[in-house]
Amino acid sequence: MNIEVRGVTKKFGRFTAVDDVSLTVPAGELVALLGPSGSGKTSLLRIIAGLEAPDAGAVLFEGEDQARRDVRHRRVGFVFQHYALFRHMTVFENVAFGLRVRPRGSRPPGVEIRAKVMDLLKLVQLDWLADRRPSELSGGQRQRVALARALAVEPKVLLLDEPFGSLDARIRQELRRWLRRLHDDIRLTSVFVTHDQEEALDVADRVVVMNHGRIEQVGAPDEVFEHPATPFVMTFLGQSATFAGRVQGGKAFLGPLAVDFPGHPHEEARPAAGYTRPHEMEVGRAENGGGGLWATLRHLSPAGAVVKLELADAEGRSFQAEVNREQHETLRARVGERLYVRPRKLRIFVEPR
């Protein structure tokens, strides 16, 4: 089932959490709402679920307006950031809850509930913990119970709020691969909120980058990473070096860099900034071809698959570059040495008027 968000606005007092957001989540996709804290991503998720009412705009499931449908009847599965498991119930009863509270007519008989819950617990690989209390489980296990509980009511959409937020790094990695596989199996329209760009790029079919209650960009992971629509998306998704300056007459003058910029042929100068990712820089000792800058190597971390160089330009502004092992072996740069750095890819954003 697809989800459509139309012009949704939500204010809390004077603070605008969600500002006229429109978004379509195609059926069967796994979409990430990505943004820093306070960007409105969780508010948007809660509005889709029906846990918050928007001040303006509409949420549609399969073209049907959900405004008058209470959260109870929306058939959404919601996984809370801190799981919100019922602490006084066993794992089994947690998962069975959604079925047990159904009105008498539509409530499945006990045997059926039992079979269904055990199936779900097998799906999340926790059937052996059915009789435990949530307090006796690890974080990753709790997360999976929360997921099984959400799936028990056969939701039409699955919404997850920072699903891996409170887990440690290793379990987080495991669980997100697992969630991706699970999604590939059940193909349930899913939206998850995260502030971790790596997580969003790794798991999602489509990433929605949010900032200040607005959507900055929507796209496939490689699309938003390689072709960011705004400086915010560029800087939020991974590391980048920034060169501030101006564009004028078809050229960009960004600090120590001077490159062609046909995007602004006018004689009038406009403030602009160029962004490059660390791995997109060529580091050498000669100005072959130009278009780069001279910088001093301040620090070098040679451990790992890529070698990280911390550099400083002529005015002392520092930025990072990365080279792979082979390049490092041939270059053999030493701290304090002056190197020529040429951005292979420079994304220039002219400041809007």
Binding site: V71, V76, G77, F78, A84, R102, S135, L137, A150, V153
Partner: protein, 283 residues
């Protein structure tokens, strides 16, 4: 939490002795004295004093008052703590202060308030008189005063518990399709049940033991409007010490039961907490 002791043994011993002597003089001795006096003339006389019609009437009245007061305050306490913990609304601070009012006012004043309101010369006196309803110097007055004096207990106990629990479990239940009552009985209540029980026990102990407020509104009519504490006072004033202490021993016994149940609840809460901690450490 165990900390390494640094004080010399002498200081430790002195502190301990002071505490123990204090405890013995102000808590243990009176308690023992109550039971000793009550049983002074033997167990037979003890039972006779309790079986005496006026004493029996006082016991029944006290039980009945508690039986009405405690459920009322339970409902009020649940409603108030739910509202305060789960919603934001204007006047929340005022409500919190008002809940504490009975703790802040002397019980005698509480009783006076009801005399001023419902007494013959009171605000509602003419109206009540015209409809032949007797509140002051009658059973309803006793219940009103007791409800007033004891209403903070359950609410005060539950507000911090509910605030600590937050809203998430209720929200989860709602998303899973549960209705309001289902959420309350299946999620909220089980989570706060120990707090509820604790509040109820304290509320009950106070409801049965309240003297000041009830004394003002009851009128001390023997066999009719005397609760246990009032009856004890009357017997005492009549120099009937053995009977007075026999009846008083019931209240002392109630206090002991309250303490035992309270420690059981606390012990249970602690053991649950420490078990959870163990599991977390293991995981």
């Amino acid at each position: 939490m165990r900390r390494a002791l640094t004080e010399p043994p002498l200081v430790r011993g002195a502190l301990l002795a002071v505490a123990l002597v204090f405890l013995a003089i102000f808590l243990v001795m009176p308690l023992v004295a109550v039971f000793a006096q009550a049983l002074e003339k033997g167990f037979g006389a003890y039972l006779t004093a309790l079986r005496e019609p006026d004493a029996w009437a006082a016991i029944r009245l006290t039980l009945l008052t508690a039986a009405i007061t405690v459920p009322l305050n339970l409902v009020f306490g649940l409603a108030a703590s739910w509202a305060i913990a789960k919603f934001e609304f204007p006047g929340k601070g005022t409500l919190l202060t008002l809940i504490d009012l009975p703790f802040a006012v002397s019980p005698v004043i509480s009783g006076m308030i009801f005399v001023l309101l419902f007494g013959r010369q009171g605000l509602l006196g003419p109206f009540l008189g015209a409809h032949d309803v007797k509140v002051i110097f009658a059973f309803p007055g006793i219940v009103l005063a007791t409800v007033f004096v004891t209403f903070p207990f359950v609410a005060r106990e539950l507000i911090p518990v509910m605030q600590a629990l937050g809203n998430e479990e209720e929200e989860a239940a709602r998303v899973l399709g549960a209705g309001g009552w289902q959420i309350f009985f299946r999620v909220t209540l089980p989570n706060v049940k120990w707090g509820v029980l604790y509040g109820v026990i304290l509320c009950n102990a106070r409801a049965m033991g309240e003297f000041g407020a009830v004394s003002v509104v009851s009128g001390h009519i023997r066999g009719l409007t005397n609760t246990i504490p009032l009856h004890v006072e009357i017997l005492y004033n009549e120099y009937n010490f053995q009977a007075a202490f026999a009846v008083a021993s019931l209240l002392a016994f109630l206090a002991l039961v309250t303490l035992v149940v309270k420690s059981l609840i606390e012990w249970r809460a602690r053991s649950v907490a420490s078990r959870e901690e163990h599991v977390r450490e293991a995981a």
